[in-house]
Symmetry: C2
């Protein structure tokens, strides 16, 4: 069964590098390995293979980056992923927090013709249900100008723009608490000694750990006028 173009592992590596290296720095192989649930030796091997194929650049002891070719390939997978998420939520009424995992399988089995027909059917949505931008068919992505909740200061307020990177565990946690894109947010205070952030979201105050706060992005309401 020679399904050349259908290589789940390669696509997941590229997608994960794209996530970890968001912000144009290098993705450490150790982080890659952890995210993908493989040993660092395995990840290193795969990184070497992908470097030979011209999809990654590896700077030893620093980390890996996508080449232009690798970036395009990653964006195409991400496009399929997010389009499927839209379909699964908007038409199949599947739960917001579950569709990420369903789409993570479909994304590797979707022909370009199907992807583009799906995009047209969905009327070319701009973001996935979790707020992340859907790359164009040629792999361009709109630059985000939002801020991680973890970078804000008490007193700041705005609205949740997106959850990134996504994972079932995180989405489940957030869904259970109604912490979704669009919700208004007020940063109340930060507990001392690197404690949790006290955040009022949709009327209720939540204590969020720093790690979770790093995954919640906000569009600030600027009231310095």
């Amino acid at each position: 069964m020679k399904h050349e173009s259908f290589n789940e592992s390669v696509e997941m590596y590229l997608k994960t590098v794209s996530e970890l290296a968001a912000g144009n720095d290098l993705a450490p192989i150790s982080a890659l390995a952890e995210r993908l649930g493989v040993s660092t030796v395995s990840a290193t091997e795969m990184v070497h293979r992908l470097c030979e194929k011209g999809l990654l650049d590896h700077t030893p002891y620093k980390g890996v980056a996508l080449t232009e070719d690798g970036r395009r390939r990653a964006q195409r997978v991400i496009r399929r992923h997010r389009l499927w998420e839209c379909f699964l939520v908007d038409f199949l009424n599947l739960p917001w927090e579950k569709v990420h995992d369903y789409a993570c399988r479909l994304e590797h089995a979707t022909d370009t013709a199907v992807t583009e027909a799906l995009a047209a059917f969905l009327n070319h949505p701009q973001t996935c249900p979790h707020g992340n931008p859907i790359p164009s068919a040629v792999g361009d992505v709109a630059a985000a100008n939002d801020t991680p909740l973890g970078d804000l200061q008490p007193g700041d307020h705005g609205a949740i723009s997106r959850i990134y990177p996504e994972s079932l565990l995180l989405l489940d946690y957030l869904a259970a608490r109604g912490i979704l894109p669009g919700q208004p947010v007020e940063f109340e205070e930060i507990a001392p000694f690197n404690g949790p952030l006290m955040i009022k979201i949709g009327g209720e105050t939540h204590a969020l750990g720093q790690e979770i706060a790093a995954h919640i992005f906000m569009e600030l309401t600027d009231d310095t006028h």
Copy 2:
């Protein structure tokens, strides 16, 4: 990446055995190998593995059959396949003759929750766009009572009920000639020496080889009254 349940090769073997053994006889390993595009040695190896897993029964020198477990697994894949075909044709407006191949990838990457939500969204269709019945969620299939075109006699007439088994080459050929389910058919004559069948379909007469005729199923109009 331990995607256990997502084993394309195994699923394709089971599906192919189901197709070849339609009519409760045994599927020869040689036919399996040919259909899957692998060597007979490879197919034999895989058949052994699937026998050990309790999915197939192998009668040496005769062929293989699905066990009850294997049959259910195959029907579940076929259900996903045909549901996707419906979606691709009816909602994404993709070509009738191409969706078989697109669905052949998606069928291995579709969670049960997605499958059932899709079935509900499509309003539980009974057949795929090529006329083949969609198994129920528990793996039951409606018994067909149609006849291959190749088994008919000159003078018989009726309508095309389905194309089976499906393949891109065959569907492309038929689509180009408007030979689709629902079309009225009149069997005019059969050329001597195992020659082609002369068939009037939707007003036009086509010369169909015996092999193609074996893939076109008809519901006869009984006019012995």
